[in-house]
Every structure is written in structure tokens, then in C-alpha cells.
Amino acid sequence: MVPFVRSGNPVLSVLDKGRWRAPEIAFWAFTVAVFFLFPDHLMLGAQVLITGLFALSLDLLVGYTGLVSLGHAAFFGVGAYAAGLLAQAGWGEPFSGLALAAAAAAVVGYASSHLIVRVHGIAMLMITMGVTILLHELANRLSWITGGDDGLQGVTMAPVLGLFGFDLFGRTAYLYALGVVFAMFCLARGLVNSPFGLSLRGIRENGRRMPAIGSPMRSRIRTVYTMSAALAGVAGALLAQTTEFVSLEVLSFQRSAEVLIILILGGTGRLYGALIGAAVFMVGRDLLASANPQYWFFWLGLMLVLVVMFARGGILGGLENLLRFVQRRRNAR
């Protein structure tokens, strides 16, 4: 969190919150540099970006609105199947696939949001999980459409903008994913810095107070849930398009749990926590799994426990605390 202004115009402490800062620009410059620095790992890079977007969509719910979910894969999966099926049907233009995926996931998100506004805590975990299990089973049963256990075959993408075909090295995949993820990030960033975003933080901080200041809380939750679902749907579509394949796993419980772990690892309520968490998680898995495949989960578990115990607010929160600590020491001297 940005340190609070103690001098100067206090009004600016609210007005200036949405300004782009240097570390942010450096972050995005780095994502572009990755394309040149790691040409052999662009497929992994694309996966990191996609997972980051997925975690970002969850951050709107968990980090900003204070909701919980163990079923966010529902929207990721619906998006993946929507984009995959569209391409399989012969319409391989990628952006229309993203739009369809966002719309399909938004519809499912809006429908389930009516259940979400009625419950809290554990009940919310169960409902989000239940919806995802339902969809997973549905996709399994409708194997004549989805391919069931074998996955959705025959997804062929047309070149991006009619120019850049998807290649084996993931060059197009990476840049395409980066462009889309950046655009979606800007959307989410604008959202959390808007009056609507402030009201989401109000819901997170105290749901009981919201009606007392005239805020229709349920309608706000329905809106953010739908938006979050749409973003998750775009992430799912990106995976389907860049890998030209959709497996049942996109709707799995594991994917729901993993994205929550990634978000908590990186730090909730910061947007960047989602992206950093995805990078640490997936690059870490890649490195550790290639060194010793069996022990990856051991290290993941250890990392999770350490971060939650010692770095409240995840990796980013921990870094911020460290920075503040160093600053205080320097000021004290």
C-alpha cells in the first residue's frame, strides 16, 4: 500500500491513487524484455501471463471485495471451452474467441452471483466449489461436444490480426498473451481506482456499514463477480488459443485451489501480487520439477507456510514491510 500523505493537500491522497508509478512501468518493461532475454522459455512465459490474469480476476473478489472462492476455475474453464469450441467450429480468429469467452463466462458468473450474495465464509466456499464440480461433470458428460477425458481436439487458430501465426516457440503466443493481459490489467486497474472500486473496498472492510451509507451492496457484489468471471474467461480462452487444446483439467478443483494459492503467495488486493505470484509459482515449479519432480509439492507447501507466517500480504506485502522497515531505520539514524 502507498504510504499515506501526512503533509500537503490531503485531497490528493485519494485523487492521485491511480497514478502510474515507476515500479509499475519497470514491471511492464520487464515483461517485454523477457521476450528478448528468454527466447527459449516463451511458452512458459505465456503460461505465467495467463495464470497471472486468472489470479488477477480472483484478486478482484478476494483482495478487493473480501469474498472467498474455491471455484474460480468455473469461469476459466467456461472461457477455455467457449474459445476452443469456436475455433474448432472453424472460426479461428483469436479476438472474437476472447470476446465470446468473456461473454460466456460473464453469463455463468452473473447467474451464480445470485447465490453468492446470499452467503458468507464457508458457505461461499462450498457454493463456488459446488458450481465448479457441476460444470466439470457437465463437461465430462457432454463428451460429444467437449471431447470429455480426451480433451477438445482440432482447435486451430488463425494468425493474430491475420499476420502472426502461432509458432512452436511461443513467440506469437507470448506477445499475444502479453498484449491481452496488459489490456485486461489496465481495465482491472481502472476498475479498482474508480468510485466502484472504492465501494468494493468498503464491502471488504465492513459489509454491515455499506447499506447504512446508502450502498446497494448486493448489486455491487453481483457486478464485480460478473466482471471477475469475464476476466477469468479471457484467461481460459488465452490458454485454449495458445495451446490449441482444452482439457477437462481447466475445470478442475486443483486449478481453483492453485489460483488461490498463487494469489495469496503473491499478495492479495494489489493486482501485481497476482502476476508476481503466478511468476514465482510457475517458474518455481518449472525449475524444481525439472530438478526433482516428486518434491515440488514439498517446496510449494513450505513456501506457502513461510509466506503466510512471515510475510503477511504475500511476497509483495513482505517486500513492502521490509522496505518500510529499512526506511524507518534510515530515518531513525
Binding site: 490531503p10 485519494v14 468510485p195 466502484f196 472504492l198 447499506p211 447504512a212 451509507i213 446497494p216
Partner: protein, 251 residues
């Protein structure tokens, strides 16, 4: 009789077989400074919750400016000018008072759901919020996190949030609860300095404050109105002495 700012007619509230509000008919005129007193468990907070729409009454009506709002949702009643504070701080701990009041101002102006533009385009709302905080003496605390503020300051943020809705009726549920005696008098000075056209109903246990600031007093006992009158009348009333003030009465 002119239209009351807020009124109830035959209000009942049952929790299961327990009747916590019984046949309460009550009138709060425009510009009133009205206290609601009664022993613990008399149903005072329940009454506030019925007025604001947290609870739906088992029977009876709530009228706001003459209009029936019994079935109106809590947030809509706020939009119609009915605002409240809470006995126990019900604030936004991690927001600054400025952010919290800006949020309330945005909600009042119908901007709370606006996501297509940033807060940087809401200078008028933020400035209005800051002006309100300054008026309550919270200017220097405006950009600190709410949970870092002293308790008495947080009680003021309670009032600031309620005022941001520009109420015509303000319900204060023990505004000075938990605040040291000296500060609670200051708090009531702030309250009595509020614009005269706001009708105020407050619950308070400190009888000195009640008799100093209320123009009229309603005594609630076991969910029922025992009596209503001016401070003098209530001070003289033998029934009130018996059930509430004790034999000594108000000094």
C-alpha cells in the same frame, strides 16, 4: 398536525416468541432533538434497526417524511434521508476517513457504481468529504488509516459517515459509548452544532447529557413506550423514577 420527519405506527417486532418491540407509535418532528432512553434490554437498538430497515417489523409501519418505507431496503432509506450511527464502531478500518467519507458522498450522488472513470475525476466529492471531516475537527486525521485513530476520533468518523448522506433524520445509537466523560461532552457539543433542520434521535445512557441536549425524551421499557415528554416532565414522572432512574431521580 404537520408531517413528522420520521414516525412509526403500531410497530411490533418478535424474535420467535420473544416480543422485543411492542406497539410502538412514535413521532419525530422536523428539527427535533429527541432522546430515547430506557434500561438495558429495553429494545432501543432494535427500534433503531427497525427504523433503518436492518429488521423488518412483525407488524406496523415506518413513515419517513410521511411516506411508508416499511418495505424499503436499508440503503434506499439512506437515499431518502434517513441516516444512522452505530453503538459499536462500524467503520472501514483499512480506509482513511477521507476515503470512507468520499465513498459515502459518492454513494449519495449515485456514483458508487461508476467503474468507467477514476477517482481522480471525483475532486468535488473528495473535497466535500474533506470539508465535512474538517467541520468535525477530523482534518488532521483525514489521511490516516481509520483503525490507527483514537477511539474518540473514531466515534466522530461514525458521525461523519452518517452526515455524508446529507440526512434529514439522524439516528445516533449511543454516540458517546466508550468515550471518557470529558470527551463525550465535547462530542455532544459537536452534535448540537449540527444544522438545525436535521431531526436527531439519540440513544444515550448518561442522564446528564440526555437532560442537557434533548428537547423531548421517550422512555422505552421492555419494548414498550412508557412515556414521552420534555426533560422536566420525564424528570418528574414517578413511573420513570421507579423503573429507570431509581428512587433518587435525576439530580
Amino acid at each position: 398536525m404537520s408531517t413528522a420527519a420520521l414516525a412509526t405506527e403500531g410497530l411490533f417486532m418478535n424474535f420467535g416468541s420473544l416480543a422485543v418491540t411492542r406497539n410502538v407509535s412514535f413521532r419525530l418532528p422536523v428539527s427535533a432533538r429527541h432522546a430515547l432512553i430506557g434500561p438495558n434490554g429495553a429494545g432501543k437498538t432494535t427500534f433503531i434497526n427497525l427504523l433503518t430497515g436492518v429488521y423488518k417489523p412483525s407488524a406496523g409501519r415506518v413513515l419517513l417524511g410521511g411516506a411508508d418505507v416499511t418495505a424499503t431496503a436499508a440503503d434506499q432509506r439512506v437515499k431518502r434521508g434517513l441516516s444512522r450511527t452505530f453503538q459499536i464502531n462500524t467503520l472501514f478500518p483499512d480506509l482513511t476517513p477521507l476515503e470512507a467519507v468520499t465513498l459515502a458522498v459518492c454513494e449519495r450522488r449515485g456514483l458508487g457504481g461508476a467503474w468507467h472513470f477514476g477517482l481522480k475525476r471525483c475532486r468535488a466529492q473528495v473535497e466535500e468529504a474533506y470539508t465535512l471531516l474538517e467541520r468535525l475537527g477530523l482534518g488532521s486525521d483525514a489521511t490516516r488509516r481509520t483503525r490507527e485513530l483514537a477511539y474518540g476520533r473514531q466515534r466522530l468518523v461514525e458521525i461523519a459517515l452518517a452526515l455524508a448522506a446529507e440526512p434529514r433524520v439522524l439516528l445516533l445509537d449511543e454516540p458517546a459509548a466508550g468515550v471518557p466523560a470529558r470527551e463525550s461532552a465535547e462530542l455532544f457539543e459537536v452534535i448540537s452544532a449540527l444544522p438545525g433542520d436535521i431531526a436527531i434521535l439519540f440513544i444515550e445512557h448518561d442522564m446528564d447529557l440526555v437532560f442537557r441536549f434533548a428537547e423531548r425524551i421517550t422512555v422505552l421499557v421492555a419494548g414498550e413506550v412508557l412515556c414521552e415528554g420534555t426533560p422536566d416532565e420525564i424528570g418528574e414522572d414517578q413511573r420513570v423514577r421507579d423503573v429507570y432512574l431509581g428512587s433518587g431521580g435525576h439530580a
